[in-house]
């Protein structure tokens, strides 16, 4: 699975990296982010592009798997 590690990065880098990965990848993409608002942005982006996602909290950070 393609992994996008956007932990600790400022906006809008996490979203740009996610968008790049989804453009180039056929399979699922795993995105790691640190902030709640970045998690919500990534989820919103996935939803608006017709993808499904599953999110979970890992410690103080987040993992979103987009399929």
């Amino acid at each position: 699975m393609k992994e996008v590690d956007a932990r600790g990065l400022s906006c809008p880098e996490p979203l740009m990296m996610t968008a790049d990965a989804l453009k180039n990848e056929k399979g699922p993409v795993k995105v790691l982010v640190s902030e709640v608002n970045q998690k919500m942005n990534v989820e919103k982006y996935a939803k608006s592009h017709g993808k499904t996602y599953k999110s979970r909290e890992i410690g103080s950070e987040f993992e979103i798997i987009i399929e």
Partner: protein
Amino acid sequence: MNLTDSKAKLAVGGALCGVVAVLLAIFGNPGNMAICIACFIRDTAGALGMHQAAVVQYARPEIIGIVLGAFIISVVTKEYRSTAGSSPMIRFVLGIIIMIGALLFLGCPLRMVLRMAAGDLNAYVGLIGFVAGIATGIVALKQGFSLGRAHETNKMNGAVLPVLMLGILVMILMGSSLLIASEKGPGSMHAPVWLALIGGIVFGALAQKTRMCFAGSIRDIMLMKNFDLFSVIAALFGVMLIYNIATGNFHLSFSGQPVAHAQHLWNILGMYIVGLAATLAGGCPLRQLVLAGQGSSDAAVTVAGMFVGSALCHNLKLASAAAAAATAETEAVVGGPAIQGKIAGVICIVVLLIIAFAGNKRK
């Protein structure tokens, strides 16, 4: 409560911020300056004696309130995270540069929107520069610009700026004679302390929940065709526009506007500097205050840069003068930057382009 899952909720958040701004305007803040992050940081720096411009010295409870509001709401909603380490000194420089750009134009992006809502055409000219600055920042981002990762730190580290703000608040509430307060000029015009403080706290909390960001709103439209953040700003603009029209404060003109000048080139370049620097820093001055409140030391360093930048602007006379009509005692003032302000503006643009395009790449 999640305010970011629909544009309607975001717009309500923005409108409530507009109501706070209306109250602050009614109860005494300067013309078209109900709330301005750059101006109010500059006034607070003056109150602390960091500069001696006698007309712009006053410890603004709004700034303190915004940081504390963001701090409180982020602790309550468990979004508080103490982080640091994303190129702090570059962010410090960006803070200084944001302030130089804002004081060439005479206002941060928030005040630009308030000025637009009052019909100040100079602010619309500034908007051209602001959008161009953000567009330049987006080019850099697309080429892989990054200031690097922040990491979690000891919880106390993220609380330093909120505690410093609390310290200034205690001085205000005790009536400390150490704080300098202007006797005339914009610094002498202010809403009552309690209203300004509570207004700031509400504004900061709402800005945290809605992720309100003036640079981010335009960036997201240009980069992602996403209008979420724009809906917050549009609602704020709408409320201020209604207030200004209803109270006869709406005047569509270049001249006769409070604390403004009509040097178009410098309005454009001033806001170009702010737009580019804010995009590189990941948010406008308001967003930096909010991020600093929710534990980001990198944003707090940017805020520290803005304090130092405002002091430099007045100590070195880089800030623009406001235009003024002639009176019986004084001649008319055209307003705008002096030569040193223009040179500083050009240096800021060169430094920003170096930061944006020479070496700060995502690893």
